[in-house]
C-alpha cells in the first residue's frame, strides 16, 4: 500500500511550547492535594487583593490601596510554598543528584524569614505610631475587619477539618500545634498607620479582606508502611507549616484590629492600636521560631533530632560486629522530612568478611530508619 500523502510534521523539532509547559505545571499542581489547596488559596488571595485595590482606587482610599499591596506581599509567601511543592516533585538530574526535594525545606525557611520581617516591620510601625499617634478614622474599620475575620475563621475551620483526614503518624499534630495562637493580620495594622495619610481623614478601612484558611494538610506518610506511595508525595510539612503560619498570622491580626477598634471607639484609647500591633508582632515572632529552628537544623546538615537517641546505639551495635575495629566519621543528615542519609567509615580486620559486615551495617541502620547509607570500608594494615 503506497502512502498517498506524507506528512513531515512529526519530524519537526519540538518547539519551546510555553503553553504546553504551563499546562504541564497546572496538571502537576492539580494532581497533588497540597499544591491544589495552596493554589486555590493563592487565587482567592489574589482576587481579594485585586478587589481591594480596585475599590481603593475607586474610592481613593490610600489605606485600602496599601492594604491590598500588603496582601500581594502575602501572596508571595503562598507562591513560594506552591512553587516549592511543585519543584520538590521534579525528578533528579545531572545537576541535582538528590532531586529537588530540599525545595520544601527552603520554602519553609524563606516563609519563616518573611514572617519575621513582617513582624519586625509591624513592630517598627507600632513604635512610630506610639510615639506620634495619628488620628485614625475608624468608621469603616470595624465592619471590614470583622468580615475579614469571619472569612479567615471559616477558611481555617474548613481546611483544618479536611486536613486531618489523612493522619497516619503522629507527626501532624506537630504542624498544627503552633499554628493557632499565631495568626495575625498584622497587615491590617501596618497600614492603619501609614499615619501620614490618615491625617486627612481618609476612609481608612483597615480591613483585612484576607481570607486565608488553613490547609489541607495532606501528610502522606513516608514511613515504610507497606503501602506504595508515589515517592514524590513525601511530607511537605515544612511548606505547609510555613504557609500556615503566614496565613493564620492574618487571623490574629484581624482579631487585633477588632479589639483595638473597639477600644478606640468605646474608650477612645488611641494608644490601643500601636500596643496591639506590638503584641501581635511579638506573637508572630515567637511562633515562627520552631519552624525556623527546624529548617535551619536541616539546612545546616545537622544530625536528625529524631535520631539523637538511636544513633549511639547503632554505633555500638556496629562496633560489636565481628571484625570491626572502629567506626569513624559518622555523618547523618536530613535530606527532607523523614528522609535521612548517612555516611560512615569502618576500620576492619584484614581477614574480616567485608560483604557481611556491609550488609549487617545496612541492616542495623535501616532499622533505625536510615535508608541511604554509604559505608566505606578500610582494611587495617596488619
Amino acid at each position: 500500500m503506497l502512502p498517498l500523502c506524507i506528512k513531515d510534521d512529526e519530524y519537526k523539532p519540538a518547539k519551546f511550547n510555553l503553553l504546553a509547559k504551563i499546562s504541564g505545571w497546572f496538571r502537576s499542581i492539580l494532581s497533588d492535594k497540597t499544591s491544589r489547596n495552596l493554589f486555590f488559596f493563592l487565587c482567592l488571595n489574589l482576587s481579594f487583593a485585586f478587589v481591594e485595590l480596585s475599590y481603593g482606587i475607586w474610592s481613593n482610599s490610600l489605606g485600602l490601596i496599601s492594604d491590598s499591596f500588603h496582601m500581594f506581599f502575602d501572596c508571595t509567601a503562598l507562591l513560594a510554598g506552591l512553587a516549592a511543592s511543585v519543584i520538590s516533585r521534579w525528578r533528579s538530574n545531572d545537576s541535582f543528584s538528590y532531586g529537588y526535594v530540599r525545595a520544601e525545606v527552603l520554602a519553609g525557611f524563606v516563609n519563616g524569614l518573611f514572617l519575621i520581617f513582617t513582624a519586625f516591620f509591624i513592630f517598627s510601625e507600632g513604635v512610630e505610631r506610639a510615639l506620634e499617634p495619628p488620628h485614625v478614622n475608624h468608621d469603616r474599620l470595624l465592619p471590614v475587619s470583622v468580615a475579614g475575620l469571619l472569612v479567615n475563621l471559616v477558611g481555617i475551620f474548613v481546611f483544618q477539618h479536611g486536613g486531618h483526614g489523612h493522619s497516619h503518624g503522629g507527626d501532624e499534630g506537630h504542624g498544627h500545634s503552633h499554628s493557632l495562637f499565631n495568626g495575625s493580620a498584622g497587615h491590617g495594622h501596618s497600614h492603619g498607620g501609614h499615619g501620614h495619610e490618615s491625617k486627612h481623614g481618609d476612609g481608612h478601612s483597615h480591613g483585612d479582606g484576607h481570607s486565608h484558611g488553613g490547609h489541607g494538610h495532606s501528610h502522606d506518610d513516608p514511613h515504610c508502611h507497606d503501602e506504595l506511595h508515589t515517592p514524590g508525595k513525601g511530607s511537605s510539612k515544612q511548606i505547609l507549616q510555613g504557609v500556615f503560619l503566614h496565613i493564620v498570622a492574618d487571623t490574629l491580626g484581624s482579631v487585633g484590629v477588632i479589639i483595638s477598634a473597639i477600644l478606640m471607639q468605646k474608650y477612645d484609647l488611641m494608644i490601643a492600636d500601636p500596643i496591639c500591633s506590638m503584641c501581635i508582632s511579638i506573637l508572630i515572632g515567637v511562633s515562627v521560631v520552631p519552624l525556623l529552628r527546624e529548617s535551619i537544623g536541616i539546612l545546616m546538615q545537622r544530625t536528625p533530632p529524631s535520631l539523637d537517641n538511636a544513633l549511639p546505639e547503632c554505633y555500638q551495635r556496629v562496633q560489636q560486629l565481628q571484625g570491626v575495629y572502629n567506626l569513624q566519621e559518622p555523618h547523618f543528615w536530613t535530606l527532607c522530612t523523614d528522609v535521612y542519609i548517612g555516611t560512615l567509615k569502618l576500620l576492619i580486620a584484614p581477614d574480616a568478611d567485608g560483604k557481611w559486615i556491609l550488609s549487617q551495617t545496612h541492616n542495623i541502620f535501616t532499622q533505625a530508619g536510615i535508608r541511604q547509607l554509604y559505608v566505606q570500608i578500610e582494611v587495617a594494615a596488619m
Binding site: 538530574n93 545531572d94 543528584s97 526535594v101 515517592p231 514524590g232 566519621e329 560512615l344 557481611w356 556491609l358
Partner: protein
C-alpha cells in the same frame, strides 16, 4: 582565632551603624520628623543584617565537628548569605510600597537642611562600609580590578589557614587539601576544563596534603558569600543615602516653598491643607483684581523625584541581589557544584581499572570549596578493593572533591552480568520511597542511565538474559552470607524485573530525568 579581619570589619561597621541609628533617632525626636524616624528603622535593619552576618561568621569558624553537627558549622556562611538576600528582597518590596504611596501622595520635605546633614553623614558611614567590604565581595558586579582580587586572594589565604588549623574533625579525612582553585569559576565550561588540566598536572602536590594556593579568579568565592550579602546590604543603604541627599539638595535649590504669611497657590496635589484653603481665598482676592502675583509653589516634578529615584534604586538592588540569592539557594538545595560535570565524571570513573559500576553517585557542596561525594562502587573482590579505593580517591581529589565516602560492593559469585545491580540497596517496601521521588528504582538515582548501561565494561547489556540466572545464582552462591541473602535476592528481583524492556526504559528515563 584567625579569620580576624572579617570579624573586625563587621564589628567596626556594626558599631558605626548602630551609633548612627541612635543619632538618627535622637535627631528625629528633636526635629519631630517622621521621615527621619522611618529612615532610622532602615538603619536598624542594616544593623540586623550585619548582626546576622557576624553570627554566621562566628559560627562558620567552628569548623570542628560536634555531636549534633557532624559537619561543623561551616554552612552558616551560606545561611547568613541567604538570610541577608531574603531580607534585602523584602526590604525592596517595602520600599516599592512606600514609593507608590508617595506617588499618589507627594510630600514636601520639611527642614531639608537637617535632612541633608544627616543624609550626608549616613552616606559617609555607608561609603566607609563599602570600602571595608569591597575587597571581600570580590567585585562580582563589575567592580573587580586587580586590587580587589589581591584582597580576595589574601583573605582566602588567611581563610585557608584558618581551615587547615582545625583539629581532626570531619575535615580530618580531607586533611588540608582545600584548594582554592576549585571554587566555581565565573564563567562556564571553558575555564573549568582549563582548570582541570592545570589540576591534573599538580596532582602530586595535592597528594602531599599541602595547601595549594592557586592564583585564580576568586570573584565568586563561596567563602565570601556571606560577605557579599553584607556588601549588597551596605550598597543598598549607600544608594538610599545618595538618594536622600540628592533629593534634599534639589529640594533646597529648586523648590520654591510657600513663603510664610503670603497666600500661595499649590498646584501639586499636596497634603498641606492650608494651601488648599489659600487657593480659594486666592481666587477671591484676585477676582478683585488686586494683584496678579500669585506665588506658585515650586515645580511639582520635584515632589515626584523621590519615589522615582527609589524605584530605580530598588531595580539596581534587586538586580544585584538576585545572583547571591540564587547561588546560596542552590547550595542549600544540594545541587552539584557548577564546575563539576556529573556525566563526564561518571564516564571517567568507569574508565578506572577495577571499577565495574557506579551507583548512587551524589556530589554536593557543603560550603565554600568543601565538596562532598558519596557513591557505591562495584568491584570484583575485597582484595582488589583497597587498590581500587585508592585510585578512586585520587581521582576525586583531582576533581577537587576531598571528602568522599565510597561504599564497595562486591560482585557476587558467578554473576558477572549483574554488575549494574546495586547489591545493598533498599528493601522491597522502601524501594519507591528511596530518595524523595528521585526515581522509581533504587540504584539509578543520580547516575543516569548512561553511566551504568553504556559503561565500557559492557555489563549492562545482557541483563534481560541474565535475569533468570541472577535470581537462581544468588541463593546458591552466597549461602554463607547469612541474613543478607534474602535481601540481595529481593533487591535483585526488584531491580531486574523493571529493566527487561531495556531500550524503552532508557529513553523514557532520560527524558524524565532531564526534565
Amino acid at each position: 582565632m584567625a579569620c580576624e579581619p572579617n570579624r573586625v570589619r563587621l564589628l567596626c561597621m556594626l558599631s558605626l551603624t548602630f551609633g548612627f541609628f541612635i543619632v538618627e533617632v535622637v535627631v528625629s525626636r528633636i526635629t519631630a520628623s517622621l521621615a527621619m524616624l522611618s529612615d532610622s528603622f532602615h538603619m536598624l535593619s542594616d544593623v540586623i543584617a550585619l548582626v546576622v552576618a557576624l553570627v554566621a561568621v562566628r559560627f562558620a569558624e567552628k569548623t570542628q565537628s560536634t555531636n549534633k553537627n557532624t559537619f561543623g558549622w561551616i554552612r552558616a556562611e551560606v545561611m547568613g548569605a541567604l538570610v541577608n538576600a531574603v531580607f534585602l528582597t523584602a526590604l525592596c518590596f517595602t520600599i516599592i510600597l512606600e514609593a507608590v504611596e508617595r506617588f499618589t501622595n507627594p510630600h514636601e520635605i520639611e527642614k531639608p537642611h537637617v535632612v541633608i546633614g544627616v543624609g550626608a553623614a549616613g552616606l559617609l558611614v555607608n561609603l566607609l562600609g563599602l570600602c571595608l567590604f569591597h575587597g571581600h565581595a570580590g567585585g562580582g558586579h563589575g567592580h573587580s580590578h586587580g586590587g580587589g582580587h589581591s584582597h580576595g586572594n589574601k583573605k582566602n589565604k588567611r581563610g585557608k589557614i584558618c581551615k587547615s588549623e582545625r583539629p581532626n574533625g570531619s575535615s580530618g579525612e580531607e586533611s588540608n587539601n582545600l584548594v582554592g582553585s576549585h571554587n566555581s569559576p565565573p564563567n562556564g565550561v571553558n575555564t573549568e576544563r582549563h582548570r582541570h588540566e592545570i589540576v591534573r598536572n599538580d596532582s602530586e602536590v595535592h597528594m602531599n596534603g599541602s595547601v595549594v594556593y592557586e592564583d585564580m579568579d576568586h570573584s565568586h568565592d563561596e567563602a565570601s558569600l556571606n560577605m557579599r550579602g553584607v556588601f549588597l546590604h551596605v550598597l543598598g543603604d549607600a544608594l538610599g543615602s545618595v538618594i536622600v541627599v540628592v533629593n534634599a539638595l534639589i529640594f533646597t535649590f529648586v523648590w520654591r516653598p510657600c513663603p510664610p504669611g503670603e497666600t500661595c497657590f499649590n498646584p501639586c496635589h499636596s497634603t498641606d491643607h492650608q494651601h488648599v484653603n489659600h487657593t480659594l481665598v486666592d481666587l477671591f482676592v484676585d477676582s478683585n483684581g488686586s494683584s496678579f502675583q500669585r506665588t506658585m509653589v515650586g515645580p511639582c516634578w520635584v515632589l515626584y523625584l523621590d519615589p522615582t529615584l527609589c524605584i530605580i534604586m530598588v531595580g539596581i538592588l534587586l538586580y544585584t541581589t538576585y545572583p547571591l540569592l540564587k547561588e546560596s539557594a542552590l547550595i542549600l538545595l544540594q545541587t552539584v557544584p557548577k564546575q563539576i560535570d556529573m556525566h563526564r565524571l561518571n564516564e571517567r570513573l568507569l574508565l578506572l581499572d577495577g571499577v565495574l559500576a557506579i551507583h548512587e553517585l551524589h556530589i554536593w557542596q557543603l560550603a565554600g570549596s568543601r565538596i562532598i561525594a558519596t557513591a557505591h562502587i562495584k568491584c570484583h573482590d575485597p582484595t582488589s578493593y583497597m587498590d581500587v579505593a585508592k585510585r578512586i580517591k585520587d581521582f576525586f581529589h583531582n576533581e577537587g572533591i576531598h571528602a568522599t565516602t565510597i561504599q564497595p560492593e562486591f560482585v557476587t559469585v558467578n554473576s558477572e552480568s549483574s554488575a549494574s545491580l546495586c547489591e545493598l540497596s533498599c528493601r522491597t517496601q522502601c524501594a519507591p520511597k528511596l530518595c524523595c521521588g528521585a526515581t522509581d528504582k533504587p540504584g539509578v538515582a543520580g547516575t543516569g542511565p548512561a553511566g551504568t548501561e553504556k559503561g565500557p565494561s559492557g555489563e549492562g547489556k545482557a541483563l534481560a538474559a541474565s535475569a533468570m540466572e541472577v535470581i537462581s545464582e544468588i541463593p546458591e552462591g552466597a549461602a554463607g552470607a547469612g541474613a543478607s541473602v534474602l535481601e540481595q535476592a529481593a533487591a535483585a528481583v526488584i531491580q531486574v524485573v523493571p529493566r527487561i524492556p531495556e531500550p524503552e526504559v532508557i529513553i523514557t528515563r532520560e527524558v524524565e530525568s532531564s526534565l
